[in-house]
């Protein structure tokens, strides 16, 4: 199994690499489009700010690389958000794999602390990504922006309002939470992705 992690300027991807190691899967961290597109599986992680991340992807032709992927691809956190249509974070045009908009949690209106940090339950689970995962399992979230819900939503979470905890379109998957940090449930979801 040849898994690549897309290398770009967004946050700490080491934990994804180590999570794969814990599952006995090795991975390659690279920004080389050729290596990315010849992998069996692609993970597109990320924590950070949307517009600078998109600019970085464009400069290295990684936007087109991600869109060209035919193999299973998993966007995590900012990775998933960058696969949506648009992000309110610095008014950023995104990749448009998912037909959802990324919006800011309205802390004042929702009377909640933002970003959301911690464990929240996911429900309405579908697709093989969540095979063997119980409804209302808890996953670890850290985010100040969220993707709206729609037909491509394959898991929902509520933090003041309901939004997409995961999205799916063809070979593309995205999860808002951090499976690499979501205890055994998260490991199960990563294993499911490896097994796709």
């Amino acid at each position: 199994m040849n898994i690549v992690i897309v290398k770009y300027n967004a946050g700490n991807v080491k934990s994804v690499e180590i999570a794969l190691e814990r599952l006995g899967a090795s991975s390659l961290l690279t920004d080389d489009p050729e290596k990315i597109l010849s992998a069996d599986k692609i993970i597109f992680p990320g924590v950070g700010e949307a517009s600078s991340a998109m600019n970085y992807l464009k400069q290295r032709n990684l936007d087109a690389t991600i869109l060209a992927a035919k193999q299973p691809l998993l966007g995590i956190c900012l990775g998933m958000q960058l696969m949506c249509l648009h992000s309110e974070e610095n008014n950023t045009q995104c990749l448009g794999v998912f037909n959802e908009h990324v919006l800011k949690f309205d802390a004042a209106q929702l009377h909640l602390k933002t970003p959301q940090i911690g464990w929240n339950n996911i429900y309405g689970l579908s697709t093989p990504l969540f095979k063997g995962v119980d409804e209302n399992s808890y996953c670890y979230f850290v985010h100040g922006y969220y993707a709206s819900s729609g037909e491509q939503t394959i898991a929902t979470t509520k933090y003041g309002i309901e939004y997409s905890a995961a999205l799916h379109q063809n070979n593309f998957y995205g999860v808002q939470f951090h499976p690499e940090k979501s205890a055994d449930i998260g490991s199960k979801i990563i294993q499911n992705f490896i097994d796709l």
Binding site: K113, G118, W119, N120, Y140, K181, D184
Partner: protein, 250 residues
């Protein structure tokens, strides 16, 4: 529903877990990697590792220990102790840490918080504050593992730290630390009301009721050490207790 977090804290000295009372009288509490694995299996929501001697002895937290821990656990963990630069943090994140906590160095040079949040994001930066109540009734910031007092109020420093980019506040009451007499509810509530980031209450958790008390109010998470290390309360029992009292826990 977002849950309240239970966070075991491992104070590290010379590669071992230690625990004292009111920051002194250290006792050995075991191998940190083994403890980390046990707590993860028991349902800890997160772990914190503090190299408690690092600031005074000018040592850096051992990246190799962090790396061993990262390979064993699948929940988030924070590392602190003697962190004073972007480079220190990069080393720890590359070793597998998820967040870092800063304390004395950030107080002495507050721009450190701005630099760290700009480089790694606020979600990575936990501002740890050790605090003690003075006779005037206000809580003040202490540095160097509680050895050095300051004339800065805890609440002011917390607000400034968040403004500069801290993503969470780890608030330790030195008056309560190791006492097992309950958390410092008043200062925890005050800080939590003034900042829009999670506040982790620390110091004084001795029985499940203490956790209920602080988590039913404004704390987003509660941290404890010796009661877990010395098996006075198990995490599953604590969570069952809280769940029965309608506190959302995982």
């Amino acid at each position: 529903m977002l849950t309240k977090r239970i966070i075991p804290c491992l104070d590290i000295k010379d590669g071992r877990t230690v625990k004292g009372t009111n920051f002194i009288n250290l006792r050995d509490a075991g191998d940190p990697v083994e403890l980390a694995e046990i707590y993860t299996k028991q349902g800890a929501d997160e772990l914190v590792f503090l190299d408690i001697t690092a600031t005074n002895e000018k040592r850096k937290t051992l990246a190799s220990l962090v790396n061993r821990i990262a390979h064993k656990i699948n929940i988030p963990f924070t590392v602190g102790g003697g962190i004073g630069s972007v480079e220190d943090v990069r080393t720890l994140l590359d070793a597998g840490a998820d967040k870092i906590s800063v304390n004395t160095a950030a107080f002495k040079r507050p721009d450190l918080i701005n630099e760290l949040s700009a480089s790694f994001g606020s979600q990575c930066v936990v501002l740890a504050i050790d605090t003690k109540k003075h006779e005037d009734g206000d809580w003040y910031v202490y540095l160097n593992g509680g050895r050095v007092s300051t004339d800065v109020k805890c609440i002011d420093w917390a607000v400034e730290g968040v403004k500069r980019g801290a993503g969470e506040i780890l608030l330790t009451s030195m008056d309560h630390d190791g006492s097992k007499s309950g958390f410092a509810i008043d200062i925890t509530n005050q800080v939590s009301s003034m900042v829009n980031v999670p506040v982790i209450a620390s110091g004084g958790g001795g029985i499940p009721e203490h956790f209920y008390e602080v988590l039913s109010q404004k704390a987003d998470a509660a941290l404890a050490a010796s009661i877990f290390h010395f098996k006075e309360i198990s995490i599953p029992d604590l969570k069952a207790f809280l769940r029965n009292r309608q506190i959302p826990v995982r």
